[in-house]
Structures are given as C-alpha cells and as structure tokens.
C-alpha cells in the first residue's frame, strides 16, 4: 500500500477510463479544439490589427511651416529642431527643405506636371514635421501642443488635421473596448461550451462515480480519471486548434493579397502561440472536469 504504487494505480485507472470513454473524449476534444481555434484566430487578428493601427497612428503629424527669415544664419535649422523636440509630447522631428517640398509636390502631381511649369522651387516654404506621443494625440492635448508651436517666432503657419486625429483616437479607443469585449465574450463562450460538454460527460457516468464512492474510493481517486481525461481532451483539443489555425493560415496566405497578410500572421513566435493554445486547452479541460466532478460529488 505504498504511496508510489498507489499513484501508478490511479494513473492506470485514469487512462483505462479514457480508453473506455473514447467516443465522448474525442467529441469533447473536438469541441475544445474548435472553440479554441476560433478564439485563437480572433486573438491573432486582434493583436495584428492593433499593431497595424498603432503604426498608422505614427503617421499623423503636425506640420510647422518655417518663416524664410528664420532660416538665415548657420545652425538655425538645428536650433529649430532642438526647440521643437523640447516641447512635451513630441516624439520626433523631421526637417523638410524647400527642395524636398518641391520634389514632394511634383511627385503628388504626377500627370499634371504641366501645371508646375511656372513654379520655382523657392516658392514653397520649408517645414518641419512633428510626430506626437500616442497619449498626446487626443483632442485637447494636441491642441495645446499646436498652440505652443504657433507662438514660436520662426513659425509661419501650423497645420494639424485636428479632425482626423480625433476620429483616429476615437477609433482606437473604440477598437480596444470592442475587441476586449468580444474577447471576453469568446473566452466565456468557450469555457461555457467546454464545461457544459464535460458536465454532460460526467452526468453520463454518474453511476460509475456513485459506485466508486460506495466501494470506498476517496474523492480525489474518483476525480483523477476525469481530471486526466479533461487534460487529455484539452491536449487533443489544443492540438486540433493548432492544426486548424495552421491550416487556415496556410489556406489564407496562399490566396491573400500580400498587403493583407499581416492580419493572419502569428504575432508572437509560433512556439509561443502553440504553447499558449495548448496551455489554455489543458486548463479548460482540467478546470471543466474538476468543477463538474466536485459539484457532482458534493451532491452524492
């Protein structure tokens, strides 16, 4: 009656039980797998879109046109850049010379080049482009930054597409809330479906539980096979989920326009993602079976 042989027996009985209930084990595993796959793919798309949105966010900027008079004298550009960076909320500063501006305009006018025939490069003002820290993109804060630049003596005009930033910030906030809500909902549904499936499995085997208890099995001894089964279901489910995700990704990538591919890309390392899906599957299966058996045993 040593502890060791006890555990061997427990595990033996557990795997035996899995063998006996293969059909339900497989069915539950499939449910776990499908649920997990949907959840995981949702998370990937979410994380990727979130990253993309942040990148796009980087592209909003404030343009400050510089008075021609302020550009005279050596080092004046460096001074302007330094002063700009010192303003709180400014992430980066880029200088666009008169020549750069002309080249840019010309590129933007492709097909209408004739229009620019009489225009001289010197006619355009030089400018600096400022990028904001994300937390400064919000309406009031951004306006404050713009005000500070308007007061600079070298600034001729400050351009900032207030409306776009507000829209964008609202979108970001909305997207975060919506995706978070949807994620919670999906996790809830997955947990619910899995625990429900396990509950029905336990229910179908209540005779077995009752009889084991009557011949003197401890609660833990009774729970173990269900636990092992739950873990196994989670494992198989996780494996299935990984397979579905991988297959789905392959099917998508082979057809998807290149610039959209990032949406289905796995954001973290492949190994990490597989491990996470596995772990969640196992936790789901284990928790589901433990909860169901405990509830059932208490009513015995």
């Amino acid at each position: 009656m040593s502890k060791g042989s006890n555990i061997v027996h427990l595990l033996g009985s557990a795997t035996g039980s899995v063998r006996d209930n293969l059909a339900t084990t497989v069915v539950t595993a499939l449910t776990v797998g499908f649920s997990l796959a949907i959840l995981a793919q949702f998370l990937f798309v979410f994380i990727n879109l979130d990253a993309a949105v942040s990148t796009w966010g980087d592209r909003t900027h404030i343009v400050v046109y510089i008075k021609d008079t302020a550009m005279r004298g050596p080092g004046s550009i460096e001074r302007i850049k330094g002063a700009s960076l010192a303003v709180p909320g400014i992430k980066s500063v880029a200088y666009i010379s008169k020549d750069d501006a002309y080249a840019e305009l010309k590129a933007g006018m492709k097909g209408h080049e004739a229009v620019l025939a009489g225009v001289d490069a010197g006619a355009l003002p030089a400018s600096i482009e400022l990028r904001l820290d994300p937390e400064y993109m919000e309406g009031a804060k951004a306006a404050g930054v713009v005000e500070r630049f308007k007061k600079m003596d070298w600034a001729e005009e400050v351009q900032y597409s207030q409306e776009w930033v507000e829209k964008f910030a609202a979108f970001l906030r909305f997207f975060e809330v919506a995706a978070f809500g949807a994620g919670i909902f999906l996790v809830g549904v997955t947990v619910f479906i899995v625990s429900n499936t396990v509950r029905l499995t336990v229910y179908a085997r209540q005779d077995e539980i009752e009889i084991m208890s009557l011949v003197g099995a401890t609660d833990n001894y009774i729970k173990l096979p269900f636990f092992v089964e739950g873990v196994l279901q989670g494992l198989i489910g996780g494996l299935l989920a990984v397979f579905i995700i991988y297959a789905g990704r392959w099917a998508l990538l082979s057809r998807m326009p290149v610039y959209l591919r990032f949406v289905v890309d796995v954001p973290v390392s492949w190994t990490m993602a597989v491990a996470a899906v596995f772990a969640f599957g196992i936790v789901l299966g284990a928790a589901g079976s433990l909860l169901s058996t405990s509830r059932f045993l208490k009513s015995c």
Binding site: D207, I211, L214, V215, G216, Y221
Partner: protein, 244 residues
C-alpha cells in the same frame, strides 16, 4: 501489509482510543435510531440493537419493513434522523466526510440492486474494491480470482457484467463484498436471484468468512435459510424491531 491479521488493516492505521477498549467486543451498536423520509413516513422507528464482533445475524421482515434502510445506515450511506450509531468503536454520526471512504473500505456491502458497472468486466468490477484501496496488481489478481471462485464465476471473469444472468450478477456483487476481506459484511437480500443450491452455498461462504472473524449481517426474506442456519434473526415490521 505486515502483522498477523493482514485482512483487517486498522482504520487508517490510527491506534484505537483507549477509552473504547472495553466496547471492542461490540461491532455495531444502534441507540434509538429513527429514520423518516419527507412525506413518506417513518422507515425506522426507535431501533436499538447490538451486533457483537464476529457475530452472524439475519435481518428479516416483510417488504418495506426497513431492512435496507437499516443496512444503509450501518454503512453510513444514509444518515439517521435521530439516535446514535457506533461502528467498531467510532461514532459514525460525527465522522467527517473525508473519513467516510476509509470506513467503507472496512465494510463489504452486497446491494439489493447490485450496483455493478454494467459495461465493465466481472474482473474489473470485483477488482475495483481493491483498486481504490491501492492494493498492488499481483495481490489484487490473486484475491479477485479467489473471490470469483468462491461464487463459481471464474469462467466469467472477462465478461461484461451486462452479459450476465441475474444470478450471476448477484454473485459478482457478493464477490466484490468478500474480496476486501472486510471487518463487516452487510448483505441486502443476497440470494433473491439465486437458486436454492446457490443460496445455501452463498450463506455457507458468509459463514466461512464469519468464522475467520468477520461480522456478518444478512437481510433476507428467505425463512428457509434462517431456519436452516439457526442464527440470530432480527425481525423488523414497519420500522420497528419486533423480535431478535
């Protein structure tokens, strides 16, 4: 498993309480036990009785008299509505839930409705009682084989219980109770599905086990058996002990 009495390992290995030493010759003791079921009236009414260690007792009485209820209370699977219950020196009423399995390991119960796992083999059903105790495979196989041969079911060991006849199933239930080599055997109508010859054999088996020290309580309708074995018989009627 060491010592000269391997068949009855002490309850969780704890030393018996010295104060209860004197009571050791009594195995089962009920004081003014009542059992009422919501809306169904009284199944047991003021039952006081004593079963000595190593005794063999029949419980008899008409259908619905309370025989099964009495055995279930002795087994701890049903709690009395009133009264006290002492099994082997321990007060059953106050035992924490986590200790119940260890007490059940010392009692072999033959259920009136067998309570077998129908989609498991005969061997697995009998072995289950030892497996939950952690008996090693080698010894387990030996003991299960012996128990099955007691009830003449060696040849059915690898059959699923659902393929057995009623009497065969009843004998599996008996084998599962005796395989534990328990301190107490409680058998509820263990011969209801057996022909007269097997019925006698079964009671002989219980007597044999009894001779080795096990306390045996058998609930039965079969007056023939009681007469033949001339053991003490407790007669219940409508929940009351009317003789014995």
């Amino acid at each position: 498993m060491k010592g000269s009495r391997p068949v009855f390992p002490d309850y969780r290995g704890r030393p018996r309480l010295p104060a209860l030493r004197r009571a050791q010759s009594v195995m089962i003791q009920l004081f003014h036990v009542y059992k009422t079921f919501e809306g169904a009236g009284t199944a047991l009414h003021d039952v006081t009785l004593k079963v000595a260690k190593g005794e063999f007792v029949f419980i008899t009485g008409p259908s619905g008299a309370g025989k099964s209820t009495l055995l279930n209370i002795m087994f701890g699977s049903e709690a009395p509505t009133g009264g006290q219950l002492i099994i082997d020196g321990r007060n059953y009423i106050k035992i924490p839930r986590s200790d119940v399995p260890y007490l059940r390991r010392r009692i072999g119960f033959v259920f009136q409705d067998f309570k077998l796992l129908h989609d498991k083999t005969v061997f697995d059903n009998v072995a289950l009682a030892l497996r939950v105790m952690g008996v090693e495979t080698g010894e387990l196989k030996k003991r299960v084989a012996r128990a099955l041969s007691y009830v003449r079911l060696q040849h059915r060991a690898n059959f699923k219980v659902e393929t057995l006849s009623g009497g065969e199933q009843q004998r599996v239930a008996i084998a599962r109770a005796v395989v534990k080599e328990p301190a107490i055997i409680l058998a509820d109508e263990p011969t209801g599905n057996l022909d007269p010859h097997l019925s006698l054999e079964t009671i002989e088996l219980f007597k044999e086990v009894n001779n080795k020290g096990t306390t045996v309580v058998v609930a039965t309708h079969d007056q023939g058996l009681i007469d033949r074995f001339a053991k003490r018989a407790i007669v219940l009627e409508q929940g009351r002990v009317v003789s014995g």
